[in-house]
């Protein structure tokens, strides 16, 4: 998969060199920590990705889309669950696979220097696939909701004229994708991203 991603991303690179940009493509490692529903999942998602695309609206404002994914987990050691006359003993592996697609706007405080801080907001759709594995069995609940993600960070270019740079940032995710089956409310997480950004003009 790594090669596939690399090939896909390298295809986005424009061989031209220039200082000002009006489009960006970014691919970042997206690490998230759940801050809600921690009875269900409490481990950080260290294998998530964030793919972003932006077009210039004006000199400092850029709009586009973000696609994100993350996987949260929790292992609950073997114990007995009692419900009425029924009792079950097992250990549980709780998973939440999250995907987000947002329309995002970022305000860059400057667009001509090596260090370009930005702040933004993404609003869109969230899909979470809740899975609970126990032995060879699993139960599942899929949920859609609204995703709101305020975010901030910076782009750092090695040179002012570079057509690529590093992107890093932090964000907060609010997803209304609840689960009735697992008795879970809205999903919140905080995260950080670090990756590469390609600049085009």
């Amino acid at each position: 998969m790594k090669y596939c991603l690399l090939i896909a991303f390298l295809g986005l690179v424009n061989p031209l060199r220039a200082q000002y940009f009006d489009k960006t493509y970014s691919l970042a490692l997206d690490v998230n920590v759940p801050v809600a529903n921690t009875d269900y999942v409490n481990q950080a998602s260290a294998r998530g990705f964030k793919f972003g695309y932006r077009e210039m609206i004006n000199e400092n404002l850029f709009g586009g889309v973000d696609f994100t994914n993350s996987t949260y987990t929790r292992h609950i050691p073997r114990q007995t669950y009692t419900q009425g006359t029924s009792a079950t003993t097992t250990d549980l592996f709780n998973y939440a696979y999250g995907y987000g697609l947002t329309l995002s706007m970022d305000y860059f405080f400057n667009t001509e220097q090596k260090f370009m801080p930005f702040a933004g907001l993404g609003v869109g759709a969230s899909y979470i696939d809740y899975r609970q594995f126990f032995n060879v069995y699993s139960s599942q609940d899929e949920s859609w909701g609204v995703l709101v993600r305020p975010q901030g960070g910076f782009v750092y270019r090695p040179k002012e004229a570079s057509r690529w740079g590093f992107i890093a940032g932090i964000h907060y995710n609010y997803s209304s994708a609840k689960s009735k089956d697992f008795d879970l409310g809205a999903f919140h997480s905080i995260g950080a991203q670090v990756g590469i950004i390609m600049l085009e003009w």
Binding site: M1, C4, L5, I7, A8, F9, G11, L12, L27, D39, Y40, R47, G48, F49, F51, Y53, F67, N69, T71, H75, R78, T80, Y81, T82, Q83, G84, T85, S86, A87, T88, T89, T90, D91, L92, F93, N94, Y95, Y97, Y99, D129, Q132, F133, F134, N135, V136, Y137, S138, S139, Q140, D141, K180, D181, F182, D183, L184
Partner: protein
């Protein structure tokens, strides 16, 4: 060309980012689920019978109806030990026992979907469907469950069947790392989580 490249990249991300638990960890212990008839006074029974050294077998992959050998011996011996420890007296089936203990293996049948799942927060009540449980999937290609049942041999249902008063599902023994030992442990656990059984 560029949108196609982007879509390929996104497809790789989606397909490659649904990790699942390690199979060895998942199959470390068997799932033990029990349920009993809450209207029954288990202390009112005195004797039971059990087919020692033999398990029933229901399978899609064989026409055999009995499971013999060490596994059957280990399991039935442990069932008997637990029943004895709960104060019941083992008698031959011709000696008019109060309870019958039935033990059998169901292989390659989707029996687990019919029972409630351990749940996280349990099921919930739906005004349309009554008490509702999330769906349970079995993702093993060939799974097997050890099923134990207690039946009241003094009562029959309207369908002329003995009344089922306790049931236990133990699985998956087909993918267990140590089906012999883990099954014996699971039988013990079935009784541990069923304190209502006993005189």
């Amino acid at each position: 060309m560029r949108p196609l490249i982007i879509l390929i990249g996104l497809g790789c991300i989606v397909n490659g980012c649904q990790p699942v638990p390690d199979a060895e960890e998942l199959n470390q212990d068997l799932v033990v689920q029990t349920d009993y008839d809450g209207s029954v006074d288990f202390g009112a029974y005195a004797t039971y019978t059990l087919a020692l050294d033999t398990l029933g077998l229901i399978s899609n992959s064989t026409s055999d109806t009995l499971q013999l050998g060490k596994y059957a011996v280990d399991v039935t011996t442990r069932i008997k030990a637990n029943m004895d420890a709960r104060g019941y007296t083992f008698v031959d089936k011709n000696q008019n026992p109060d309870l019958g203990v039935v033990a059998f293996i169901v292989s390659d049948f989707s029996v687990y979907q019919t029972i409630s799942y351990p749940g996280y927060g349990g099921g919930y009540y739906s005004p349309y469907y009554g008490y509702y449980y999330p769906r349970v999937n079995t993702y093993a290609s060939n799974s097997a469950a050890l099923i134990l049942q207690l039946v009241d041999l003094n009562k029959k249902t309207a369908q002329n069947q003995f009344k089922l008063i306790w049931a236990c599902y133990i699985g998956d023994i087909a993918s267990s790392i140590d089906p012999f030992q883990k099954s014996v442990e699971a039988v013990d656990q079935a009784f541990v989580q069923s304190p209502t059984i006993g005189k």
